[in-house]
C-alpha cells in the first residue's frame, strides 16, 4: 500500500497567481495512493519543510511529491528534509508546475490548472515505482595535479601543499614562473614583477609537498573525480639534473646562439640554456634544434666543460605515471601574433612590437638591460605609439571579446617609457578605457594628467614604414580629425588568446573549451573555477583573459575547491546512474562505444557489460543505444516512463 504525500507550493503568486491551488489540492485529496494533499505559500521555507517532515513521521509516508519550481532549484532541499524525517531521499520527486506550467501559461489559467494536475499525476506514478537508493561512496586519492607553472599554477599548488596535501606541478617549459616572470613592472603599483613573483617560485621549488615536474607535459588522463590516473611525459633535457649544480659554465661556453623565446625574439640565447637568471629550477636543457652537436655531429663543448659530467646526449623522454584526486588547469595564455595583423604590417616592421616584447625591452634582465632601444637600429625612440584593442573586440578577426589587460598594461608601458625617456612622447590610441580593478582608474587618470601621456580616442587604420620612421594613420574620433604620426616605434596591445595546445589538453581531460579555446567553467557566475568535468578546476587565463590579481584570486579559489574535496572522508555520488539487467545483456558492447564518460566496459569472464559507478553521470546514452534494453537508468526505467505517459494520456 502506497502512502504518498503531495505538497503544493504557491511560490507567492508565481504559481498561485495562475493555478487554482485549492482546486488542485481538492482533486488529489481523494486520489489513489495519496495519503495527504496539502499546500503552503513557500514550501521551501522552514515552516514548509516542517509540514513535509511532520507528515512523513505522523502519516508514515513512503513517497513524496512536491509540486513547485524546477528540481534544479529545490529538489535537494526537499530530499534533505525527507532524510531528516527518516525517508529515503530518492522517494521524493518534484512536479515542476512553475517553469513548465504557471510561468508559461499566465493567460490561460483554467488550462494551466488542468495541466498542473496532469504533471502531478505523472510524478505520482514515478514515486510509486521509485526504489530507495543509497548514494555511492568511494575513496579519494588526496593528491593534486596542477598543470601550468605560471602565477596561477604556483599559487594553487602552494595553497594546496600548505594544507598538507601532495601536489604534482607540471610545467611545459624548463622552469616555472610563466608569463609573469617575463614582465618588467606590473600595474597599478609599478612594482617589479620578478620581485613579487620569485618568492613564490622559490617556495614552490623548495616545498616538501610539491613535486615539480618541469619540461613535462600531461599526455593522458584516465579516471574520474577523486581518482585520476595521469601519464606525464618528461622531455629529454640532455642534462642530468641530479648531477647539475646550475653553475652556468656550459651556457657560457656554448658556441651556438639562437633567438631567445623568453625575450620574444629580441635577444639571443645559447643552445644549452636556462630560461632566466632567476630560473627555478636553475637547470639548463639542450635545445636540439640549435645545438651544434645535434645538428652537425660535433662540438661537445658543454660535455667537456661540465665539472660534474651532467651532460647526457643519449637521454630519452620519460613517461611518468601519477595518481591524483583533483586537477587544476592553469595553462595560461599567449598573445595574438603580430603576423596575423595585416594592417599593422604582418610583423614585417621590426619596430612594431607587441606588449610582451616591450616588457623585455624594459626589463633589467632583458636584451637591452632595461634601456628602451628599438629593435631595428638600437636608437632610443622619441615618438612611441601604443595601440589598444589590436585583434580584441574585433569580430572580423574572430576575437569579439575584450582581453581585459591591455588598457592597463599599455598605460603602464607608456608610463615606464616616460620614466626612462622623459623627453619622448607617448601616444595611446584607445576605443574606451577599461580600468575596472582596485586602483586602476586612479592609475589611468594619473597617467593622463601627470605623466603627460597623450590618449587619443580612435583606431589606427594602417602602419607603414617610411625611411626609418613608422607612419601611423589613425583617427581622433573626439575631434573628428585624421591623425598621422611619424613614430619611431609602435607597441601593439594584441589580443590574449589561449595557450597553444589548450584544446588538445581539454580533449585529454575530457572537458570543454569555448569557441575561442578557453576552458569552459561549469557556471559563469556560480561555478567560475569548476570545469565542466568533476574534479577538474580552472585557474587564471586558461579560463579567460584576466590580470594578475584576478588570476591569484581564482587560483586560490581553485585550491579551496580541491581542499574541500580532499576534506571529505569519501566521495559521494548520486546513485541515479545506469545499471545492467544481466539477464538481457548479450555483451555486444554498443554501450561501451556510446558512453561519453568511459564508464562502460565489458566483463570478459561474464560476457556482459558493466558500469563504472564512479564515472557514470546518468546521461542515458547507453540506455538508448542498447539493442536489448538491458541498460537502464535507476528510477527511470522505460516501464516507469510508460506508466507516467499512460497517466498523462
Amino acid at each position: 500500500m502506497k502512502k504518498i504525500g503531495l505538497f503544493i507550493c504557491h511560490c507567492g503568486s508565481n504559481i498561485a497567481g495562475t493555478i487554482d491551488i485549492p482546486e488542485v489540492k481538492k482533486f488529489f485529496s481523494e486520489y489513489d495512493d495519496i495519503e495527504i494533499s496539502d499546500d503552503y505559500k513557500y514550501m521551501c521555507s522552514e515552516p514548509g519543510q516542517k509540514k513535509l517532515r511532520d507528515a512523513i513521521v505522523e502519516r508514515g509516508l513512503n513517497g513524496v511529491v512536491v509540486a513547485c519550481c524546477s528540481p534544479r532549484m529545490h529538489e535537494i532541499t526537499f530530499r534533505n528534509a525527507a532524510v531528516s524525517a527518516g525517508l529515503n531521499p530518492y522517494k521524493v520527486e518534484i512536479a515542476n508546475i512553475r517553469e513548465q506550467c504557471s510561468w508559461v501559461h499566465q493567460k490561460e489559467k483554467d488550462k494551466a490548472t488542468k495541466k498542473s494536475i496532469d504533471i502531478i499525476k505523472t510524478m505520482i506514478e514515478k514515486v510509486k515505482r521509485d526504489e530507495a537508493l543509497q548514494p555511492i561512496e568511494f575513496d579519494i586519492t588526496k593528491r593534486a595535479l596542477v598543470i601550468g607553472g605560471g602565477i596561477a599554477g604556483i599559487t594553487a599548488a602552494v595553497d594546496i601543499a600548505n594544507a598538507g596535501y601532495e601536489v604534482v606541478l607540471v610545467e611545459k617549459r624548463h622552469s616555472i614562473g610563466g608569463k609573469m616572470l617575463e614582465l618588467s613592472e606590473t600595474f597599478p603599483t609599478l612594482d617589479c614583477a620578478q620581485c613579487t613573483l620569485t618568492p613564490k617560485t622559490v617556495e614552490a621549488g623548495r616545498h616538501p609537498k610539491i613535486k615539480l615536474m618541469v619540461y613535462s607535459e600531461v599526455e593522458e588522463v584516465k579516471g574520474y573525480i577523486g581518482n585520476f590516473d595521469v601519464k606525464i611525459r618528461r622531455k629529454a633535457s640532455y642534462v642530468d639534473w641530479n648531477k647539475c649544480t646550475g653553475c652556468g659554465l656550459c651556457q657560457e661556453k656554448c658556441p651556438s646562439k639562437t633567438e631567445s623565446e623568453f625575450d620574444h625574439g629580441l635577444g639571443e640565447r645559447k643552445a644549452i640554456y636556462t630560461l632566466s637568471p632567476q630560473a627555478v629550477p636553475n637547470k639548463p636543457i639542450i635545445d636540439k634544434n640549435s645545438c651544434r652537436f645535434f645538428r652537425e655531429g660535433k662540438c661537445r663543448v658543454c660535455e667537456k666543460v661540465c665539472p660534474v659530467q651532467a651532460i647526457n646526449y643519449e637521454m630519452k623522454d620519460e613517461v611518468i605515471e601519477e595518481k591524483v584526486g583533483a586537477i587544476v588547469v592553469a595553462t595560461g595564455y599567449e598573445i595574438l601574433e603580430t603576423e596575423k595583423i595585416p594592417e599593422y604590417g604582418y610583423g614585417m616592421y621590426k619596430d612594431v612590437i607587441d606588449g610582451l616584447q616591450f616588457e623585455r625591452l624594459n626589463s633589467a634582465s632583458g636584451p637591452t638591460a632595461g634601456e628602451i632601444r628599438r629593435p631595428s637600429d638600437g636608437k632610443v625612440p622619441k615618438e612611441v605609439v601604443f595601440i589598444k584593442c589590436v585583434g580584441s573586440r574585433d569580430p572580423e578577426k574572430g576575437i569579439p571579446y575584450c582581453s581585459r589587460i591591455c588598457c592597463m598594461y599599455l598605460g603602464k608601458h607608456a608610463r615606464l617609457y616616460k620614466h626612462k625617456v622623459p623627453d619622448g612622447q607617448a601616444y595611446l590610441f584607445y576605443m574606451d578605457i577599461r580600468s575596472f580593478g582596485k586602483g586602476y582608474e586612479e592609475f589611468i587618470q594619473q597617467s593622463m594628467e601627470e605623466a603627460n601621456l597623450l590618449y587619443i580616442r580612435g583606431r589606427v587604420a594602417r602602419i607603414m614604414q617610411e625611411g626609418d620612421k613608422l607612419v601611423v594613420w589613425g583617427v581622433d574620433t573626439l575631434s573628428g580629425r585624421k591623425v598621422e604620426i611619424k613614430a619611431d616605434m609602435v607597441v601593439l596591445g594584441t589580443a590574449v588568446v589561449p595557450s597553444k595546445g589548450a584544446t588538445e589538453l581539454a580533449k585529454v581531460l575530457r572537458t570543454a573549451t569555448d569557441e575561442y579555446g578557453f576552458f569552459n567553467e561549469a557556471h559563469i557566475k556560480l561555478k567560475p573555477v569548476e570545469s565542466m568535468t568533476g574534479g577538474i578546476y580552472l585557474a587564471g587565463c586558461a579560463q579567460a583573459p584576466k590580470d594578475i590579481p584576478d588570476t591569484v584570486a581564482q587560483a586560490g579559489a581553485a585550491a579551496a575547491k580541491v581542499l574541500s574535496l580532499f576534506g571529505q572522508e569519501k566521495m559521494v555520488q548520486e546513485p541515479l546512474i545506469a545499471c545492467v539487467d544481466t539477464d538481457l545483456c548479450s555483451g555486444c558492447g554498443v554501450c561501451v562505444t556510446a558512453c561519453p564518460f568511459d564508464a562502460r566496459m565489458l566483463d570478459v569472464d561474464e560476457k556482459i557489460s558493466i558500469v563504472n559507478e564512479a564515472l557514470c553521470q546518468g546521461c542515458g546514452a547507453c540506455v538508448s543505444a542498447c539493442p536489448n534494453k538491458a541498460c537502464q537508468l535507476r528510477n527511470a526505467s522505460p516501464k516507469t516512463y510508460m506508466a507516467m505517459v499512460d497517466k498523462y494520456l
Partner: protein
C-alpha cells in the same frame, strides 16, 4: 583548351581599350578560348548603387543569367564590374533575394562562378606557360590592386585585402620584379575623381610617392578606373600599366596602339622593359 566566359564591361571596349585589346591578345597567345556574355549590359558601375539598390543588383544579375547559358566560369577584368557582379551573385545565393530577382528576370537555371581576370593567370598551368616568356630587365614595378578587387572581403572572398598577391605572382612569372610596398589596396579616390578632385590628388600623390620610394619605376594595375585616375591626377609623369600590357610585352605581342591610349607616355619605359637601357 580552356574556355571562359568573358565580361569586358563598358570600359574595355572604350576608355580602357588598351586593357581590352591587350587582354584579348594575351588570351589568344595562350590559346584560351573566350566568349563574351551574350547581349551583356552595363554592370551599373558607381551610378546604379548610389541611386537604386534593386537596379544595382538586377543589372549584373542579368549578365549572370545570360552567361549561365554558356556553362563556363565568368572572368571579369574590371574591378568595379567584378565587385558589382559578386554582389549580385551573393544575392542570388540567398533564397529570398533570389526569388525577388527571379520575379524581375525570370528563373535562373544555374549560377556560374565569377572570378577577377587575374585569377585566370594565377592558375598553376598558366603561370608555368607565362614563365616561358621571360623579360630581361632591371625595371621594377609596384603592383596596385585598389579597393574593388579585394573589398568587402566577406562578399568577394577573393584574396587577402591587405596584402594581395595575384598581380605580383603574374608579373614575377614573366620575370618582372615587383616591389614590396604598403599601399597595394589603398583607395585611389576613383569615385570622387570628378566630384572632388582635391581629395583625389592627395590620395594619388601618396600612392605614387610610396611606389617611387619603394623603388618602382611604374605602377601596374588591373582596374581601369584606378589606371585613369592615377594617370590623370599625378604631378610628375609616372607610367601606369595594365598587367595584361606587361604580359603582352613579355610575349612580344605588344601594340603601339595601346601606348597611344595612355595619358602618360610609357614608351621609354616599355623599351627598357624590353631590355633596352
Amino acid at each position: 583548351m580552356k574556355k571562359i566566359t568573358y565580361y569586358p564591361g563598358c570600359t574595355l571596349h572604350s576608355t580602357a581599350y588598351e586593357y581590352g585589346d591587350s587582354t584579348e591578345a594575351v588570351l589568344k597567345y595562350l590559346g584560351i578560348e573566350w566568349q563574351e556574355i551574350p547581349d551583356w549590359n552595363c554592370c551599373g558601375a558607381a551610378s546604379a548603387k548610389s541611386l537604386n539598390h534593386k537596379l544595382s543588383i538586377l543589372l549584373p544579375a542579368r549578365n549572370i543569367k545570360n552567361a549561365s547559358t554558356l556553362n563556363n566560369d565568368i572572368y571579369v577584368p574590371c574591378a568595379g564590374c567584378y565587385n558589382n557582379m559578386m554582389k549580385a551573385k551573393r544575392a542570388l545565393e540567398n533564397a529570398e533575394e533570389r526569388q525577388n530577382i527571379e520575379k524581375s528576370l525570370g528563373k535562373f537555371e544555374s549560377i556560374p562562378e565569377v572570378y577577377p581576370l587575374m585569377r585566370l593567370f594565377t592558375d598553376k598551368a598558366i603561370l608555368e606557360k607565362l614563365s616561358q616568356s621571360k623579360l630581361k630587365t632591371d625595371v621594377k614595378v609596384a603592383s596596385y590592386y585598389g579597393c574593388a578587387f579585394v573589398r568587402p572581403e566577406e562578399v568577394l572572398q577573393n584574396e587577402n585585402p591587405e596584402i594581395p598577391q595575384s598581380i605580383d605572382n603574374i608579373l614575377n612569372a614573366v620575370g618582372l620584379e615587383t616591389v614590396e610596398w604598403p599601399l597595394k589596396s589603398f583607395c585611389c579616390g576613383g569615385d570622387l575623381s570628378l566630384a572632388d578632385s582635391s581629395v583625389v590628388s592627395v590620395l594619388v600623390e601618396k600612392i605614387i610617392n610610396y611606389a617611387k620610394e619603394a623603388g618602382a619605376n611604374a605602377i601596374v594595375t588591373a582596374c581601369p578606373l584606378c589606371q585613369a585616375n592615377l594617370e590623370m591626377r599625378q604631378k610628375e609623369p609616372f607610367p601606369i600599366f595594365y598587367f595584361t600590357e606587361i604580359l603582352g610585352i613579355a610575349m612580344g605581342i605588344d601594340n603601339e596602339k595601346w601606348w597611344k591610349k595612355h595619358l602618360v607616355d610609357p614608351r621609354d619605359l616599355v623599351s627598357k622593359i624590353k631590355g633596352g637601357k
